[in-house]
Symmetry: C2
Subunit: 352 residues, 2 copies
């Protein structure tokens, strides 16, 4: 063994007087080695500090133990949670994670998928289900187990685990409508930058269509932050005649920014204005007035997705599309119960 170079399988073979194939079998726990010899080989390997070169293993096996993961961003607690949920599972199974952040840019994702395939990864994880045709073709063509996570779809590239965002939007809309809100607004980011948010907006519109209410929409050109929530809310409040009576935000951070803005402007939350966030982020646990939001079980989604992808990698038959239920969390930023329309109009007559 040359100086300053790690030991190879050959070195272990020589140290134990067996062929390198026997060492290979012993190291991998494959059958065909007597228990005594296996123990001796493992001891020698440990003594010499031998560890298989993963590049060589990957080449010989025609695929690596890398899992490629593409998420839009890690600034978003949602994706950090999902990643964490997956990490433990993949780690325990001996896979290493190659991470990319697409910054919500499909072209970046496409370029990265191509590069990732060059590693012959054991699997690939993409966020959401909206991907370029080329990405779909490449992954299917290369026959790489692929998990789409966070959103759901009836025809995933391979398998998917996620939330039904349109249904969540409907749930929010019905809740608001049942509390008597009738002038809804939605604050998100530029169309295409977050397809999930657009689906929730579609659900919201569907729910309010029953009440013949239009949904006002504002989209920030920046990312979905506290500040963006403030700015768009200021814009929504500018014209009193078109002022909404409730605002649904893309997430809790924006919603918090929006709520602060309303209160600074002297608008009472939840009576003058209903505020709804999304995701149930950490911040909500310490707000004096917790946000009404939708809880999304992200860690669970991550670990479930990872386990499913592992099963798929090992050739098991798994569900193609798994839907994760969400839950509406009624905070103090929406009314507790319907405020009578009549009272609202000052008629002074109780309804019912």
């Amino acid at each position: 063994m040359p100086l300053n170079s790690s030991p190879r399988i050959q070195d272990v073979a020589e140290a134990t007087n067996v062929s390198i194939m026997t060492v290979s079998r012993a190291m991998r726990g494959v059958e065909g080695v007597s228990p005594a010899k296996r123990a001796e080989i493992l001891r020698a390997a440990k003594r010499l500090g031998y560890r298989p070169n993963r590049n060589a293993v990957s080449l010989a096996a025609s695929h690596s133990t890398l899992i490629g993961i593409s998420l839009p961003t890690l600034f978003n607690e949602v994706f950090a949670d999902i990643l964490d949920g997956m990490r433990r599972t993949f780690d325990m199974a001996g896979f290493d994670l190659v991470l990319d952040n697409s910054d919500y840019d499909p072209q970046r994702e496409e370029a990265w998928v191509e590069r990732m395939i060059d590693w012959r990864p054991a699997g690939v994880v993409l966020s959401g289900v909206d991907h370029s045709q080329r990405v779909r073709e490449q992954l299917r063509g290369a026959n790489i187990p692929t998990l789409e996570i966070w959103d759901r779809h009836d025809d995933p590239i391979d398998i998917c685990v996620g939330v039904d965002h349109e249904a969540a939007g409907v749930m929010i809309g019905r809740h608001l409508a049942s509390l008597g809100y009738r002038r809804p607004a939605f604050v998100g980011v530029e169309a295409g930058r977050d397809p999930r948010a657009e689906k929730r907006l579609a659900g919201l519109r569907r729910a309010f269509a029953d009440h013949e209410s239009q949904v006002m929409v504002r989209r920030s050109e920046r990312h979905a932050s506290f500040e963006a929530g403030m700015n768009e809310t200021i814009a929504l409040l500018a014209a009193p005649e078109t002022r909404p009576d409730c605002i649904c935000y893309l997430n809790d951070h924006m919603a918090f920014g929006g709520m602060s803005t309303c209160e600074k402007a002297g608008i009472a939350v939840p009576d003058g204005m209903g505020i709804v966030g999304f995701n149930g982020l950490g911040i909500n646990a310490v707000l004096a007035k917790p946000l009404t939001t939708v809880l999304t079980p992200r860690l669970l989604m991550g670990s479930m997705g990872a386990r499913l992808l592992l099963a798929r990698i090992h050739g098991a038959k798994v569900d193609r599309s798994v839907s994760i239920p969400t839950e509406l969390f009624p905070g103090q930023t929406t009314r507790l119960q319907e405020r009578s329309q009549n009272l609202n109009q000052g008629l002074g007559q109780p309804v019912r």
Copy 2:
């Protein structure tokens, strides 16, 4: 070329009637190929959809284009920022990132470093400078370019880029002392879980030693969250006789939890209690009463670290240890100027 298998260099060589070595040179942009032939080869490669198998490249070259990155967690905005700062730089240079989260556990880090070395990575990034002796030996022994980021050290494993946390602690302490605070407290997490925080505490103690003030310390057993900040603050306020007059938190999130707790308890911030966070996190931009905190340029640190590591990988001579300056941000959670001790004691005499 077999069905359902990607083209190899051989296929391109046959399509263009040259040896595979010429294709290899053309693809890599290495000299020794005429411009005409190079163009023809690249055209054929594109047409066939040929892309070099990275596992084979890595094996033949005896090292991969992977960069291993170990961060404690991504829930912490700090590390998400640092990662993002590095990502762009590495991405543009054609490196792929293998990510691990150690959860602040040195043993996990050690195990991961060992596994990472099996990939013969082009470089490794670790967070902080506190690593087991074995990690240091392994990385130095394998001669892998290694960047330690976020903290600084005079004898890094290889190179380091970070903040001088003890100096930051001193800066905070002097600021508080200059404003007349004399009963400081520090709220962090269990010792060993965040060595940087301990260094800041040491700096804080050093600054207050000049005023013969002891620093009260509380450490949460949970992670540095809003809630943990609340809980430890409640504990600090429990005994009125030992109540501090200012509290430094491990980060802005904890500080926000602490500030909310004080105000709920009827303690005026900043007069009755000074509150200092750390890092200048996103939340601070939207708080009604911005926290006094220390701004740490994390994106800059990430991209600078990445550029330095790249230079190191390419064999350039670089500084072993780079210190990044921090800046104290005076928010509204510490007094604006010294409140006279005399006035404080009701003597009614102006000082000086």
